[in-house]
């Protein structure tokens, strides 16, 4: 009886006042899947640990590298900026990124319809073997699929998500709108990236930033962002992450999850 009373009290209280979701996490671990936007750059950062950096480049043989193997830093890449911003905004004490860069490749090439060297299997195996847990997947790809139909792009995207979930990557996907390369605009790709997160609770796809909004003068050569562009993209990612956290908090409350966890 007292259990039922407590349940009812918790229900009423949370429906009326909600739960706070503003706590700082000790560590945030992101999986990044990004197209041609930034140069790979790793710098020693005291606050950012990047021990699990993986890189695939579409125009080369598949490369799986770990942090110490990568060196050289010419720009201000999105993810390092984002990591700094997340730490500064007290979202976490440490931010880790595992990055899969696919250049200007199509999703279909990434999920196995392309040349063997594009295969994700090495990365997926590495993630599975190391049992890496991610707080979210940050997905920023699209220019490579300009001209693709929305149905085909959506199917490829869902297949990509399945590949990762089979590798035990069970995490929310934050999907950026990134479907512009200079004057080329992939409207159907944009439709998918815009609409997938609408029904976010069913599949845990959330809206990422709209990278298409970054002005042309912040883009160095068609699709690639320059230093300013990368900083702006990181700021947009921060906004998207904060919106996602807020949305997730509200969703958990509306779904009455606090009564069951």
């Amino acid at each position: 009886m007292s259990l039922a009373v407590n349940f009812a009290k918790a229900l009423c209280f949370s429906l009326l006042f909600g739960n706070s979701n503003a706590e700082t996490l000790s560590r945030l671990n992101f999986l990044v899947i990004s197209g041609s936007t930034s140069s790979v750059c790793i710098e020693q950062q005291q606050r950012l640990s990047k021990s699990t950096f993986l890189v695939i480049e579409s125009d080369q043989a598949a490369v799986v590298r770990r942090y110490p193997d990568l060196s050289g830093c010419n720009g201000q890449p999105i993810w390092r900026n984002l990591g700094n911003m997340l730490v500064e905004r007290r979202h976490a004490h440490t931010v880790e990124f595992t990055s899969i860069e696919i250049g200007n490749a199509k999703l279909s090439e990434l999920i196995g319809n392309g040349p063997p060297e594009m295969s994700l299997s090495t990365v997926l195996e590495s993630i599975r073997k190391n049992n890496i847990r991610f707080d979210a997947v940050l997905f920023q790809q699209g220019p490579g699929d300009i001209g693709q139909t929305s149905r085909a792009y959506k199917d490829d995207f869902n297949r990509l998500v399945r590949l990762f979930s089979n590798a035990n990557v069970i995490a929310p996907w934050l999907i950026a709108r990134h479907s512009r390369c200079g004057d080329l605009i992939g409207r159907e790709v944009d439709d998918v990236q815009r609409l997938l997160p609408v029904d976010f609770f069913t599949r845990f796809y959330f809206a990422g930033p709209n990278i298409n909004l970054i002005e042309d003068r912040a883009v160095s050569n068609g699709c690639d962002l320059d230093q300013i562009g990368e900083y702006r993209a990181a700021a947009l990612w921060l906004q998207a992450y904060e919106a996602y956290r807020q949305l997730l908090g509200r969703a958990r409350r509306e779904a009455l999850l606090f009564l069951f966890s």
Binding site: R151, D155, S165, E254, L256, F260
Partner: protein
């Protein structure tokens, strides 16, 4: 009063207009959960026109609840009957969906253990079979049944209209919860529609005097609301408050048009609609699973250039296979089938 209603409205214990309406309602519920609408160029309009068929079922639930229970209502036996015929099939259909979600580790996304996820999913009706959320909500209405019955039994018509208008206004200025996941919000939102059914049942003889006018008003509301198709819905229940719910207005209009249109022109036995009404609960439980299985074998790209052909294929196959499945279960289980598929 009750005797009068029983004689006038339900001669021989049957009202064919309502039966036909139930048959039409389940068609809308099935169509809502299919994919064909997205194939059309004007997909948003098509989706809007066929969506929210639940409104019909909540309205019918209120109507039939009052007619069948007003003279014999006893809460305990009423709940026991609903547990057997509604909740048991719900548990049967929910279980594979929940196991599948656990296999996909969906519980980890929500930060729940397997056990907690299962309890939560049964409680909310959140499932890969998307329509199952209806059952926890309708069970809330069954729990609140004495209140609705009391409101419907009042001899004070002004009070009845006031209660109904208040609740219905709230329904029209709110929306469902996010992903239909909160049965409490769903109940609050649909309470006005259920109460409208109760009120109509309580004064059906009076309402019938204006059946043509109500049907015409329904048609006008249905088509007028098609001109205001919202581009997006509020994500959360609280965000939807005080915003006119065009989808509900659209479906209430269509409900009036269909029910009172049938009262005017089809208040007689219709083999097809009568049959669909008879197996409506079975169709409700089975159709999404059937669609899922069928399209495991059919390429989703089929008839990519012809929305009409694709629609015929999808709608036809889902109805035919669902009906075959229901009939096989009814043949096998005989009278016990209502505890498995609700009919």
């Amino acid at each position: 009063m009750s005797q009068q209603i029983n004689i006038q409205v339900r001669p021989n214990g049957h009202n064919y207009a309502i039966e036909n309406f139930r048959g039409a309602a389940i068609v809308f519920v099935v169509l809502t959960h299919l994919q064909f609408a997205s194939r059309f160029e004007n997909s948003q309009l098509v989706e809007f026109a066929i969506s929210n068929g639940t409104t019909f079922f909540v309205f019918i639930a209120g109507l039939l609840f009052f007619w069948t229970e007003r003279n014999r209502f006893s809460h305990g036996p009423f709940l026991a009957k609903k547990l057997r015929t509604v909740v048991v099939p719900f548990l049967i259909f929910s279980t594979p969906g929940i196991l599948y979600a656990l296999y996909l580790q969906q519980n980890k996304l929500l930060g729940l253990t397997d056990l907690h996820y299962s309890i939560w999913a049964y409680f909310t009706g959140f499932n890969v079979l998307r329509q199952l959320w209806f059952v926890p909500m309708i069970f809330c209405f069954y729990l609140l049944a004495p209140l609705f019955l009391r409101a419907g039994r009042t001899s004070n018509t002004f009070a009845l209209i006031s209660i109904t208008a208040t609740l219905l206004t709230f329904s029209l200025y709110s929306d469902r919860s996010m992903a239909n996941v909160n049965p409490i919000y769903q109940t609050i939102h649909f309470a006005g529609v259920f109460m409208l059914g109760v009120a109509f049942a309580a004064r059906y003889t009076i309402v019938l005097r204006y059946k043509r006018e109500i049907a015409v008003c329904g048609i006008i509301a249905f088509f007028a609301s098609l001109m205001f198709v919202p581009t997006e819905r509020p994500q959360f229940f609280v965000d939807s408050l005080f915003l006119l719910n065009m989808s509900l207005l659209n479906k209430l209009g269509l409900a009036f048009a269909l029910l009172f249109g049938f009262e005017c022109f089809l208040n007689k036995k219709n083999v097809l609609l009568g049959y669909l009404a008879e197996i409506s609960f079975g169709l409700f439980f089975a159709h999404t699973a059937v669609r899922w299985v069928i399209f495991k074998f059919i390429d989703s790209e089929i008839f990519a250039d012809s929305p009409v052909l694709y629609s015929l294929l999808e709608i036809g196959s889902v109805f035919i296979v669902s009906i075959i499945l229901i009939e096989l279960l009814r043949l096998t289980l005989k009278s016990r089938s209502k505890y498995v598929i609700g009919c």
